[in-house]
Symmetry: C2
Subunit: 365 residues, 2 copies
């Protein structure tokens, strides 16, 4: 893995919007001269071109992919059609404009207050070869659209790979700057630390509308490389005043995770292996105390880590367990009380967390 990138990335990201606590053997103290601007950042207006709806009747939009299995030989491709369900088929192949294979997915929609979502498609493309560029096509007729992705190298300690880390992205002008910088970085897969769209800052039907715009916003990257999802507080969207009380409703409908492949029964926590890394995704806002499903699952998943195959053990989650900032101070205590000892015992290499919007890294303790 090209860890040099972390620091390039961090330098960029610090100028921007996000970030994250960072557990790594390294020096403590002040690591950057960055000072946050005092000006608030504004959401990109819906008619801005980076949020534009693609041309064509019922054209696929909000296209994004994620790893579809445990070991990186499958991809889940997701998109939305606005006008009618249409086809959930993905055509794909290893040469441009030559789609020798096909896979069929599912389609569903949901409501949020009076908002009715578009038709959300999820299609698993599996049985792929490692280290191949695949081209894929979705949608029908003149409205079809074409993209590509690269599969990772095999699971092996010597497989190089470059992950990017993004969290708390939103859809402001700063978010756009973050995304563009990331896309120039050479990162091959995003580990996303929760707080995706910040659509919950809106009310009523605008919540759903801002999820759609965010899906279009990230497509420029997420249609071409996997984004590995974890959920943050902005995904909870517990809004009893408008009758919406099912936590993570929008997130779970829109974003698929390969949880079953790691024996998790809940899409909010799961694991994948990719190149030389074993990546565990935890859910800060789901039960995690002893006897709960997440606790039981993590206990077993940690036993499945094989450092001979994946020397890097990485955990991503939204809330850091160490945080010296005033913002969100001590909010990670609940999870720290339960999991810190496991993280130490299993010699986790990195925990990446978001939530605080300030850069901080610490020694493991």
């Amino acid at each position: 893995m090209a860890f040099g990138l972390w620091f390039t990335l961090f330098e960029l990201l610090l100028k921007l919007f996000l970030i994250l606590a960072f557990v790594k053997k390294g020096s403590a103290g002040i690591t950057s001269t960055f000072t946050r601007t005092k000006w608030q950042s504004f959401d990109i207006p819906l008619d801005h071109k980076v949020l534009a709806i693609p041309n064509g009747y019922n054209a696929p939009q909000q296209v994004h992919i994620t790893q579809g299995d445990y070991d990186g030989k499958a991809v889940m491709i997701s998109w939305v059609t606005a006008d009618k369900p249409g086809s959930s088929r993905v055509q794909y192949g290893t040469s441009e404009n030559k789609y020798d294979f096909k896979a069929d997915g599912t389609v569903a929609n949901y409501t949020f207050y009076n908002y009715k979502s578009g038709y959300i498609h999820h299609c698993l493309v599996d049985g792929l070869e490692y280290e191949i560029k695949y081209y894929y096509k979705i949608g029908e007729g003149h409205s079809s659209r074409e993209f590509w992705f690269q599969t990772p190298p095999k699971i092996d300690p010597d497989s190089p790979f470059t992950f990017g880390i993004i969290g708390d992205l939103g859809q402001t002008y700063n978010s756009l700057s973050t995304l563009e910088h990331y896309m120039q970085s050479g990162g091959q897969t995003v580990l996303f630390l929760g707080d995706l769209s910040y659509a919950d800052r809106y009310q009523y039907n605008d919540v759903g509308i801002r999820w759609d715009s965010w899906g279009r916003f990230i497509e420029r990257s997420a249609a071409y490389q996997p984004w590995i999802w974890s959920a943050g507080n902005h995904e909870i969207e517990y809004m009893p005043d408008v009758g919406e009380v099912l936590p993570f409703k929008s997130f779970l409908h829109r974003f698929s995770t390969p949880h079953l492949a790691s024996r998790s029964k809940n899409p909010l926590w799961y694991a994948i292996r990719r190149a030389s890394a074993h990546i565990i995704v935890l859910s800060s806002y789901s039960p995690h105390v002893k006897y709960t499903p997440q606790w039981l699952w993590l206990r077993d998943e940690l036993k499945r880590v094989d450092r001979k195959k994946t020397p890097w053990l990485i955990i991503i989650m939204h809330v850091p367990i160490y945080n010296s900032n005033q913002a969100h101070f001590m909010e990670g205590e609940s999870m720290r009380a339960v999991f810190e000892r496991w993280f130490v015992r299993h010699r986790v290499d990195f925990i990446f967390a978001g939530h605080v919007h300030a850069y901080e890294r610490s020694l493991n303790v």
Copy 2:
């Protein structure tokens, strides 16, 4: 409230199966000479008379009641019919054998592995008067059965009331002894601290069967006075090996709570007021960190406490936040980290918790 009873109760209960951490201004140190027997306690066999199925085709069984509103003027009556749905009607009145009123409820069933539950009825009887003995009748024809309950006094600082505390009950011979002692104590309402039936010690269809037997076991008390429910780890029943992964499935189907009356959207956490007490029920195994529904709800509910009307503020939950025993040591840290400051700030009088099966009480700190 007759706090004298606590100590009578505790003396009894200590000889038995349960209990609980106890936050109270009182002296620390060893408070009892009780020594737990070294013999294991065994579950009562299904053909024992205390688990007997009532006579009559489709006769109501597993009858239990709980408070049905915020202030004690409603009762939720629940029961199971084994053979067919039958009627969900409750007939009731203020004289024996004279049922001037009626209410109609709902019926539903569920599966657990290959077990199919009986038809579970929940019927809300509301608009009751305070301090009245009501008689009620459920079931049809020769299979009908009759019970009674007493409504509490009005919400008032001078309203006396005697609560009993039971947790971790199970269905062993010790459980029976506990229940019989409680019934002799004069307690008017049970605050139940989670871990009801221990049916999850069984496998496959026996899980459901042992929920049914437990429902019959507690009927002798719970049909005649409200049991106020909180859920423990034995209610989670996360059993992926048999395809059961929905936490609290059996519990939520079988036991109703008046959560909507306290503006909670989840039956696992809620509040009631009864006589001179404001009672808050928390869920140890549901999300409780900042931004989660339980956290948001508790923050608001604590603001609704009016000590002029209810001078006693009581919290019940399964896992104690203070525990010096080896068993379950530090398991309450997750919730302590989040809620302890609120409990202190709002001057909670008592926190009753179970889980540890050892008596311990502590000063608030």
